[in-house]
């Protein structure tokens, strides 16, 4: 008697539990770059708190995966560190809108035992270290820039990303701009062939940070957020205008502001002009179809993305160590998004 009651009501309860919440909120889906994930995670959570009838499910499967899902139309929007190129746009078949939603800055972290002062490196020296032309920390070119710092006679262990990543893209884009030798020998991309003899690859920003922290004499490039949260030493670079800068949200935003005309075909802001521009910065992009299939969902997607690139959405960036878009870029992103049919 009791068993049959439990069976009947149990089944009902399970069905109710599955169907009732689904009817309450619409779940939008996005996929793509791992770089944006902490920012999206925080921002979409705040958005759902303010608009309980919409949730956003973002899967950080990598830019390549995001673009593939976007072309297959299984997600509402995609996120990528590099905008879709002509081949991918052709595969998508329909007009695609691409606009920046956040900024990334790459810091040069290092681990030199006994050196507590902030290291100063020129852009050319960074390129030469990664090319394998400067092999030791007490090389005259580094010593010359850091008078008063006791640099040891220690080999430089060059750490890079082993997985394909937008961070690598920004960094190699920067190296291609400052060193013609890098540009011809290696090039810019999400995965490259690293020429330095002591190059070691680590997986993810956290891998590079961990490798640099545990290897004496290591140098590596990491997203600013990781350097800040792990309290790592980061080098000051001399930018194009000749000023010595540390990597920070302000210097990265200054670099972004130098390109208000940013577009999917002209988006590189590495080695930007301007006195306070951090030389290794880049945008991260969101992609939507100009004419999405489902008009009801399109309206919801538009609202979320417009909120994300507006002042309110961008204000969530600072708390997770991301850089908010400068206001001129926010306007140009919004102008692009407005072309979406909603």
């Amino acid at each position: 008697m009791l068993r049959s009651l439990v069976r009947r009501f149990g089944a009902l309860a399970i069905v109710a539990a599955i169907t009732v919440p689904a009817a309450a909120a619409t779940q939008l889906t996005g996929a793509g770059a791992t770089f944006d994930y902490p920012f999206f995670s925080k921002a979409f959570y705040i958005y759902t708190q303010k608009n309980p009838d919409v949730t956003v499910n973002y899967q950080s499967i990598g830019s390549g995966g995001g673009i593939a899902q976007f072309i297959a139309k299984t997600v509402d929007f995609a996120a990528s560190d590099v905008p879709m190129n002509a081949g991918e746009l052709a595969r998508a078949g329909e007009p695609v809108l691409q606009f920046p939603v956040t900024l990334g800055g790459v810091a040069i972290a290092y681990n030199i035992p006994g050196v507590t002062a902030t290291l100063r490196l020129t852009r050319q020296v960074v390129a030469d270290i990664y090319l394998g032309k400067i092999l030791k920390w007490n090389d005259p070119q580094i010593v010359r820039l850091n008078k008063g710092v006791n640099l040891p006679d220690m080999p430089i262990v060059v750490v890079h990303r082993s997985d394909g990543s937008g961070t690598t893209y920004i960094f190699t884009d920067f190296l291609s701009h400052v060193s013609p030798e890098w540009k011809s020998k290696v090039g810019a991309g999400k995965s490259v062939s690293w020429p330095a003899p002591s190059a070691v690859g680590a997986k993810g920003n956290e891998g590079v940070a961990g490798q640099v922290r545990s290897t004496p004499g290591a140098i590596g490039y990491v997203e600013l957020a990781y350097v800040v949260e792990n309290h790592m030493s980061a080098a000051m670079l001399q930018n194009k205008a000749g000023k010595w800068l540390a990597s920070s949200p302000d210097t990265i935003a200054a670099a972004a502001a130098t390109k208000p005309e940013v577009s999917p075909t002209n988006f590189s802001i590495v080695d930007a002009a301007g006195a306070s521009s951090w030389p290794i910065s880049g945008f991260s992009w969101v992609l939507v179809y100009k004419k999405p299939g489902d008009p009801g969902r399109a309206k919801l997607v538009y609202n979320v993305l417009a909120w994300l690139i507006g002042p309110e959405g961008q204000s969530n960036a600072k708390s997770v160590d991301y850089v908010p878009l400068p206001s001129n870029i926010q306007s140009s992103s919004l102008a692009t998004l407005k072309q979406m049919q909603h």
Binding site: G164, S191, S193
Partner: protein, 314 residues
């Protein structure tokens, strides 16, 4: 005992239930075989553009440049084989000794919890091994094991060169840790299954317990132990995350064990999500095909060795 063709048995089943059951079982086994074949076909189809473009030179070229789309798998094949070889060498030695101890020497009250602990090693997730390797083992190799080996054997090219902490040796050690439970558990069961008569006969001839273990029990169990090692080697060949976190990820062949290296599984795991050009994806799938073939070949060779040993015992 019997050599009659399998299908004749089906006709002998009188009861429909038996026949139905036999059909289901046969269908299941055939399905698995088809699955393996389908997997192989899918790998070949996926890597076809790369096979056409690079041909057999893919296997012996030594470069990996996604920007200029020049791919060659030799460093990865070397890394996979080398780390697995180091792993099985370490794990087989430790595992078989542990199995002999657990089966023949340890008192029951000690053997049971110790077996349990060793099997628990197999339950630790791969990525946890990787994290431990990156933050504990790699610095240990860099500060203790590496310099010690280099001090004594530094004149050998395999122990020369700079010690980064991450590298081929660290990858091999991590893999050894991961496959030791497999070797130990299976070997222990095989050794315990050796009939007591053999041990008693040996003891009656006046051998010590150690001589019994090494000269009577182990040779009798060698087929099963070898099978255990092959199983463990299969796992080592395909292990991805733990290895990728400690191997240094450099597509280069180096004489030194301390140098960073790369394995087939690591490249695929690292680069597949961001590979956007079709030749790049195709090259990665071809790496998967090579890994598949290497695993099959290793397994087949091991089977041949087991059959040849079994045949000579009859």
């Amino acid at each position: 005992m019997t050599a009659e063709p399998q299908f004749r048995r089906l006709v002998h089943f009188v009861s429909p239930a038996d026949r139905g059951f036999a059909t289901v079982v046969y269908a299941g086994s055939i399905l698995f075989a088809l699955l393996i074949i389908a997997l192989f076909i899918m790998l070949v189809l996926g890597s076809w553009p790369s096979i056409v473009k690079f041909g057999p030179s893919f296997i012996w070229k030594s470069e990996w440049d996604p920007i200029t789309s020049k791919f060659g798998a030799l460093p990865m094949i070397y890394g996979t084989v080398a780390t697995s070889f180091i792993a099985i060498a370490l794990a087989a030695f430790v595992g078989i000794m542990a199995a002999v101890f657990l089966a023949d020497f340890a008192p029951r009250w000690f053997a049971t919890p110790l077996s349990f602990l060793i099997e628990l090693l197999a339950a630790v997730p791969s990525v946890v091994y990787g994290l431990w390797g990156l933050f504990v083992l790699a610095p240990f190799v860099r500060t203790a094991i590496g310099p010690a080996l280099q001090h004594v054997f530094g004149w050998l090219p395999i122990f020369a060169g700079p010690i980064y902490g991450v590298g081929l040796l660290t990858g091999g050690i991590i893999l050894a840790l991961m496959i030791v439970p497999t070797v130990t558990a299976i070997s222990r069961d095989v050794i315990a299954a050796i009939p007591r008569d053999l041990r008693e006969a040996s003891a009656s001839l006046g051998t010590t317990k150690w001589e019994t273990a090494t000269r009577v029990v182990l040779p009798a169990a060698r087929v099963g132990i070898f099978g255990a090692c092959v199983l463990a080697l299969g796992r080592a060949l395909g292990e991805t995350i733990a290895v990728t976190m400690v191997i240094g990820n450099r597509p280069e062949i180096s004489a030194s064990l301390f140098a960073p290296s790369y394995t087939l599984a690591s490249v695929i795991a690292n680069e597949f999500t961001e590979a956007t050009s079709s030749i790049y994806i195709s090259a990665l799938i071809e790496l998967g095909l090579i890994l598949f073939v290497v695993s099959m070949v290793v397994n087949a060779l091991a089977r041949l060795m087991i059959w040849s040993v079994r045949g000579s015992r009859a």
